[in-house]
Symmetry: C2
């Protein structure tokens, strides 16, 4: 199996991306897994020589360009064909890689994946679906930011795809699926969630109903469905709140903690609330291929986790599993 990694994507690339690839290989017992580092060859090589590791499980593919935040995502395949991000996705298209990982621009990765790999037949919108840590082993949040305007029937597709992942990747035999809403009662919500609630009752197995944001960490559902506007804001809010709490800690606990313990507490808090980082990125659901969106601020551990997630998805045939899950819709979803 070969996983392509956009070595130039993310705030800490290429140093942390390359380190993440080596970390993954050190942890991965499977000799058959190779990582393809995609990026400017000289730059990537300068990083790889830092690690005294057998290079037989590392390939480097040269891609001279880098996608920047100023590039328009929708045109990325045309304007930056030779970028590490586009080339990473192309390797999946050509069959040279089985899965792709990039911590670069989510919009560009989504656009390149749509254009080069297309969608699973019947899927209208792809979604990104990270695992959010919680007291109860975590929950899948879908969509965390791929789409900002969706239909209720899109949310049904997100639920089915996330369900398949919860079962196969996270070993839930019968995951609880919740719809993120402003109240638990069936009559609560906006136009979108009211409609989605009705559709979920018909089409989503083990639907536990509306779930509230205050209960997410208490394990109220294994899969939480929302539109990408709300999901993205939630993820970013958690990070901001965590950083704020870490700043507030000295006032709260200063007298009780040594400077060293305080530093440890701050780092712990930041790690707990930096949910995208902890979860190691999220797969792009609905794309006809394995593509993992890494966090923009991913460091080596997070990159390694994202590569490992790609490996698992390929190993378990998740694209095929999602295809079957979607095909098993008991009837066409009408809004």
């Amino acid at each position: 199996m070969r996983i392509a990694l956009d070595a130039m994507g993310g705030d800490h690339a290429p140093e942390q991306t390359v380190k993440g690839a080596f970390d993954f290989l050190c942890q991965s017992p499977d000799e058959d897994v190779t990582v393809i580092l995609v990026g400017c060859e000289d730059t990537v090589k300068a990083e790889t020589v830092k690690y005294p590791f057998d290079m037989t499980r590392i390939d480097i593919i040269h891609a001279p360009e880098v996608v920047s935040m100023n590039d328009r995502p929708a045109r990325i395949v045309k304007t930056k064909r030779d970028s590490s991000l586009v080339r990473t996705v192309e390797l999946v298209k050509s069959g040279e890689a089985d899965g792709a990982v990039s911590a670069g621009s989510t919009g560009a990765l989504l656009s390149a994946s749509l254009l080069l790999l297309d969608r699973i037949p019947g899927v209208r919108r792809p979604a990104v679906c990270p695992l959010i840590p919680s007291d109860h082993g975590g929950f899948l949040l879908c969509d965390a930011g791929a789409n900002v305007d969706v239909r209720a029937s899109d949310l049904v597709q997100f639920a089915l795809m996330a369900r398949a992942n919860s079962i196969h990747i996270f070993d839930h035999s019968r995951p609880h699926i919740g719809l993120l809403n402003i109240g638990t009662e069936a009559g609560k919500g906006n136009e979108l969630t009211l409609k989605a609630h009705d559709l979920f009752l018909t089409h989503v197995d083990n639907f536990v109903g509306n779930v509230e944001a205050c209960d997410l960490f208490a394990g109220v559902a294994d899969v939480v469905i929302c539109d990408g506007f709300v999901g993205n804001i939630l993820m970013k809010f958690a990070e901001g709140l965590g950083m704020t709490l870490a700043r507030w800690l000295p006032g709260l606990l200063g007298e009780h903690l040594s400077p060293q313990a305080m530093r440890q507490a701050r780092e712990g808090l930041a790690a707990l609330t930096n949910i995208a980082e902890v979860g190691g990125g999220g797969p792009l659901f609905g794309i006809d291929g394995v593509v993992i969106v890494g966090h923009g601020r991913a460091r080596a551990a997070s990159v390694a986790a994202a590569i490992n997630l790609a490996r698992k998805m390929v190993d378990l045939g998740m694209v095929e599993a999602m295809r079957q899950e979607l095909a098993a819709l008991r009837q066409p979803v009408k809004e």
Copy 2:
């Protein structure tokens, strides 16, 4: 001045609501302010006798019924005319009170306020607008949950009303107004926020553009505008995350803290993230009268803060100030 308090509203009523009224009076130097406790007379009296306080600044008005979560908000004025919540709002309508406070059902309070007090002319949708604590003195979040489906022009009205409050209540001479979005760039967002961004450029003074959820606590704006679906989810998410972090603290810091210090840390964390509680409730903007939505879990300190907010809004003539702010729209808002 007379502020009517729904003594039976909220999870900890009437004990904490009545205590909150006395706390407010003890803290308030102004002898001219009276609190009217609205609720079942015997029950309320049984609470008031606990406090050795001069009763000249307390009135009790009998209202035998209580609004429950099972009551349909939209029909509350018809079905529970004799409830403490409806009677509290009616006192403002009849001129017997200058402002109303209730920690009961937000939906019922909104519905009663709309029916009995109506809107400020020109306002299409009211909004609820609490102060969220931050490193920088806090920011106003509007709408935190009164509306789930809004138009972009509604968000403009929310911005103008919140702006007036930021200036008069919180002494910002020229508050920064931000639009909550999934990216800071002008082209980011869903249909609603894209449209709103354009309207804000024309109609909202000192608009700082899109703001991201991760930057809210860092003081990026004094006023943050969003629809009530997103705002409500944010508030609840912050509470849930705070409670989770408090649960996680022992694992993080257990070896460094005495049991007493740990308890203090947990309580501090919960207080910092229980944003509705800290802020003491939020006013209902756009209603032609002063109405404060208390937090459902409000305790005495929060109730006292909500009464004080009502007092300030009456004192400063905030309804008139908002009316003027809305009238000053440079041109009619077209979408």
